[in-house]
C-alpha cells in the first residue's frame, strides 16, 4: 500500500471490509488458559471422587491445586497481553467477565466454608433435625458459576464448543441437585472437560493454524 492510488467508491468499500476482516482475524485466544483450568478442575474432581469412592486420605486438600494454578494463569495472562499488538473491545469485556468469575468463585468458597463451619457447629435445628448436608448442593452452585463466563465467552468469541460447555455446566448443575456427592464429582469433571478442556484444545489448534499463516 505504498502508492496513494485514486480510489473509486467501490474500492473504498472493499478496502474497509478487507481491513475490518483482517483486524477480526488477527485476534485469537491461544486456549492455554482453558486447557489448564479444564485439566486442573478435572483432576481435582476425579481425585475427590476416588478419595470418596475408595475412602483414602491425602496429606493435603487436592483443591489447593486450583489455588496454585492461579500463579501460571497470571503469568499466561501477562505474557499474552505483552504479545498483543492491538487491544479489542472484546478483550476488555472478557477481562471483566473472567475477573467477575474469579471474584465470585472466591466469595462462593468463602460463603460455603462459613455455612459448612456453621452446620458443623450445629447451630440451629435446621441441620440436626432434617439431616441437611449443604455440601451435597455446593457443586450445583459452583457449576452455575462455571457456566457464566464460559457461555458469555463462547458467545462473544463465537466459539460453539464453549457455548455448549456453558449449557453443559448448567445442565449438570440441575442434575447434581438430585445426585449424591460422589456422582457430583464425576459431573464436575465432565463439566470441566466439556466447558474448558475441549474448547481450549480446539482454540489452541485454530490459534496454531492462524499463526502459521503469513501476516496474521
Amino acid at each position: 500500500m505504498e502508492q496513494e492510488n485514486k480510489l473509486s467508491e467501490k474500492d473504498s468499500l472493499n478496502l474497509i471490509t478487507d481491513m475490518i476482516n483482517k483486524a477480526k482475524q488477527s485476534f485469537h485466544d491461544s486456549g492455554v488458559g482453558p486447557i489448564m483450568w479444564g485439566s486442573v478442575i478435572m483432576v481435582c474432581s476425579l481425585v475427590t471422587y476416588a478419595r470418596l469412592a475408595f475412602s483414602f486420605k491425602l496429606p493435603f486438600d487436592i483443591w489447593y491445586l486450583a489455588f496454585i494454578a492461579i500463579i501460571p494463569q497470571i503469568i499466561i495472562t501477562i505474557k499474552e497481553k505483552k504479545g498483543k499488538k492491538a487491544r479489542t473491545y472484546n478483550d476488555i469485556a472478557l477481562d471483566y467477565v473472567w475477573m467477575t468469575f474469579g471474584i465470585s468463585i472466591f466469595l462462593l468458597i468463602h460463603t460455603n466454608s462459613g455455612i459448612i463451619n456453621g452446620l458443623e457447629k450445629g447451630f440451629g435445628d435446621y441441620s440436626s433435625t432434617s439431616g441437611f448436608r449443604f455440601y451435597d448442593y455446593s457443586t450445583s452452585l459452583f457449576l452455575i458459576i462455571y457456566a457464566f463466563p464460559t457461555f458469555i465467552t463462547g458467545g462473544i468469541m463465537k466459539c460453539k464448543p464453549m457455548l455448549f460447555g456453558g449449557i453443559f455446566c448448567w445442565t449438570c448443575s440441575i442434575i447434581t441437585v438430585y445426585t449424591p456427592p460422589l456422582t457430583d464429582q464425576l459431573l464436575m469433571a465432565a463439566s470441566a472437560f466439556f466447558a474448558w478442556l475441549v474448547p481450549g484444545i480446539i482454540l489452541n489448534k485454530q490459534y496454531r493454524n492462524l499463526k502459521r499463516q503469513p501476516n496474521v
Partner: protein, 96 residues
C-alpha cells in the same frame, strides 16, 4: 446530489488505518504497518495527517525498554468514518 467524500479519509492508506482502528480499542504502530503492508515512513506521514485532523490519538510510550507507538481512533474520527461510509453507500445506491 452526491455528498463530497471526506478528503482526509478518501485515501487508500489513511482509510485502511481508520478501518483497522475502528475495529479495535487501540493498536500499535507495528500492527497497522503489518496489516496495511506499508512502509514505516509513509504510514507515519499518513497517521500524522489523521492526527492533525483530530481523527486519531497517538501515544508514545516504552514497552520492555523499547519505544512503542499506540494509536486509537477518537470520537470525531468515529463520526467522520461513519459519515464517510454513509456517503459511500448512498453514492453506490444512487449509481446502481
Amino acid at each position: 446530489m452526491f455528498k463530497d467524500l471526506d478528503p482526509i479519509l478518501h485515501s487508500q492508506l489513511r482509510l485502511a488505518v481508520m478501518s483497522l482502528l475502528i475495529s479495535v480499542k487501540e493498536a500499535e504502530f507495528v500492527f497497522l504497518k503489518e496489516k496495511t503492508n506499508s512502509s514505516a515512513g509513509n504510514l507515519s506521514v499518513q497517521i500524522q495527517k489523521l492526527k492533525d485532523a483530530g481523527y486519531v490519538e497517538v501515544t508514545k510510550q516504552f514497552k520492555d525498554n523499547y519505544p512503542q507507538t499506540m494509536c486509537r481512533i477518537t470520537q470525531p474520527g468515529i463520526k467522520a468514518f461513519e459519515v464517510y461510509v454513509k456517503n459511500l453507500q448512498s453514492y453506490l445506491t444512487q449509481t446502481k
